[in-house]
């Protein structure tokens, strides 16, 4: 169920790709974590992750979950950001026949969905091929 506070508290990650950097081992994570699963440090800081990267894997969704019919078909993929952090995201503004692992992509601010006729409109960073 969508709620305003639930959306609002995740806005830093949705709008600016805020993730976590472990001060113990230097690894970065998206979404943010409080504990590092590799070195077990609890000393992590929030950082803005790079907004450019490379598409590693993708799929075209043709049967969507409810709420996403308007956008169907759409591309969801795993992007490896410049610093090595991987994110799951939508890839937009693209010719799907030209997408392939290795395509360079850059973040772009987009609408994600509307919560019915009277609910909030949600936005987030998606990615598009770099031109």
């Amino acid at each position: 169920m969508a709620s305003v506070p639930r959306y609002w508290r995740n806005i830093p990650s949705y709008y600016r790709l805020v993730g976590s950097k472990c001060r113990g081992c230097g690894r970065t994570w998206f979404p943010p974590r409080r504990c590092c699963p590799i070195c077990y440090s609890r000393d992590l800081e929030l950082i803005e992750l790079p907004t450019e990267g490379v598409l590693e894997e993708f799929t075209i969704i043709r049967t969507p979950p409810s709420g996403f019919d308007y956008y169907t078909p759409y591309v969801v993929g795993i992007v490896k950001l410049r610093d090595g952090t991987r994110v799951l995201t939508q890839v937009v503004d693209c010719d799907v026949t030209e997408l392939k692992p290795g395509t360079e992509v850059v973040a772009t601010f987009r609408r994600v969905r509307e919560d019915g006729d009277f609910g909030i409109v949600m936005y987030a960073l998606k990615f598009r091929p770099k031109r």
Partner: protein, 385 residues
């Protein structure tokens, strides 16, 4: 810890049950299992279920089912680990009996999916993923598995046609499974021509949307020996979890949680992968069948396709994998699936599997996956003479 045995089994046909709700469906499986066990005094009921709340408006599932089965007053509750709920139900029941807290425990699973629209079911099942950071972006559960399938095919140079062999074999196996959802052979061509859901996953790569209920009765092994001559011991059981967010995993051609749970379960049962005679593995999508076989140690990495082609995992093979037809063709009533698998492997070990019986198995394995390898339970069952 006490040793634990399975002494009663009850199954319903997997498929569409428009005439039965959660309670009626569960009742059918529960009563069969209890009668099969010789009507012992059941002290606790553990129910594996995923979607009762989101699709049937029903919480307090344990109490509802206990009441309807004439077991009001007993300890009863639902356990949930998405599509792996059945596996963790078995683990919970095992803990209850092994610890000495209860002697007779009914472990069941029930799911009603077929009355919701495909969009609603897709949304409900996608809750197995990270709601805030995966589902939020419109990622369906099938889409996450599509990413895995592409990655696996590229990493091991496997063709789309090869992947289609899995559902073809599963539909063949299910021809002999009386409670299977499908009794219909399919061809590689059928798979490749079925509609795309999330590229490269097509309809016939996916386990179907199903209703179903299954139940088993657990009790201490010593007690089981007194009442029955066909006794199956839960010789090893373990559960492991993985990173929730798929993109954080370094290699998505394997489920670390399966590897860890299997290692622990094998060690507990003092057996090795080559000792397993029959296995029911969690093949919600074609690619998972191959990954499961490799993660469980039945094949080297990247070679499951080759071995499958050679017929190594056919009924009577070593091990026989999914003689029931698996999730693909027996069907996948998500929270009940793990309990179906336990029941099927136990029936094999008791040599009561009828037309799908494989020749005299002694060691069986069950793998139950929740989410995209996020929660995995592996159990080793052993025939006790």
């Amino acid at each position: 810890m006490r040793k634990v045995a399975i002494v009663g089994i009850g199954l319903t046909k997997v498929g569409r049950h428009f005439d039965k709700g959660l309670r009626e469906l569960f009742y059918e499986a529960a009563v069969r299992a209890i009668e099969d066990a010789g009507c012992p005094e059941i002290e606790a009921i553990i129910v594996g279920n995923m979607c009762s709340s989101s699709l049937c408006d029903q919480d307090s599932l344990g109490a509802l089912l206990a009441d309807y089965c004439g077991l009001c007053g007993r300890a009863a509750f639902k356990v949930e680990a998405a599509c792996g709920s059945g596996g963790v139900a078995l683990l919970t029941g095992y803990m209850a009996v092994a610890s000495g807290l209860y002697d007779y425990v009914l472990v069941g699973g029930v799911e009603k999916l077929t009355e919701a629209t495909t969009r609603e079911v897709t949304y409900a099942l996608a809750k197995a993923a990270d709601a805030d950071y995966e589902l939020f972006y419109g990622t369906s559960f099938t889409a996450l598995n599509a990413l895995i399938m592409r990655y696996y095919m590229r990493k091991y140079n496997v063709t789309r046609e090869d992947m289609a062999l899995w559902p073809v074999k599963m539909h063949e196996n299910a021809m002999k499974c009386p409670h299977a959802q499908f009794h219909k052979r399919i061809t590689v061509d059928d798979v490749l021509k079925s509609p795309l859901i999330a590229d490269p996953i097509r309809v016939l790569d996916c386990a179907p949307i199903s209703d179903g209920a299954a139940a088993v009765v657990l009790c201490p092994l010593e007690e089981a020996r007194r009442v029955s001559d066909a006794v199956v011991e839960v010789a090893g059981i373990a559960c492991s979890t993985d990173y929730m967010y798929l993109a954080q995993r370094p290699d998505i051609a394997s489920f670390t949680a399966t590897v860890k749970a299997a290692e622990r379960a094998y060690r507990m049962a003092k057996v090795e992968p080559r000792d397993v005679d029959v296995a029911e593995v969690h093949d919600a999508f074609s690619v998972l069948g191959f990954i499961d076989i490799e993660d469980l140690g039945f094949s080297r990495r990247g070679e499951a396709v080759k071995l499958l082609k050679e017929g190594v995992f056919d009924p009577g093979g070593k091990p026989s994998v999914n003689p029931s037809g698996g999730l693909k063709a027996r069907g996948h009533p998500v929270g009940a699936t793990g309990v179906y698998q336990v029941a099927e492997v136990a029936l094999q070990l008791m040599e009561k599997a009828g037309s799908m019986q494989v020749p005299s198995p002694e060691i069986g394995l069950v793998q139950s996956i929740g989410g995209v390898g996020t929660t995995v339970t592996v159990a080793i069952l052993r025939r006790v003479k």
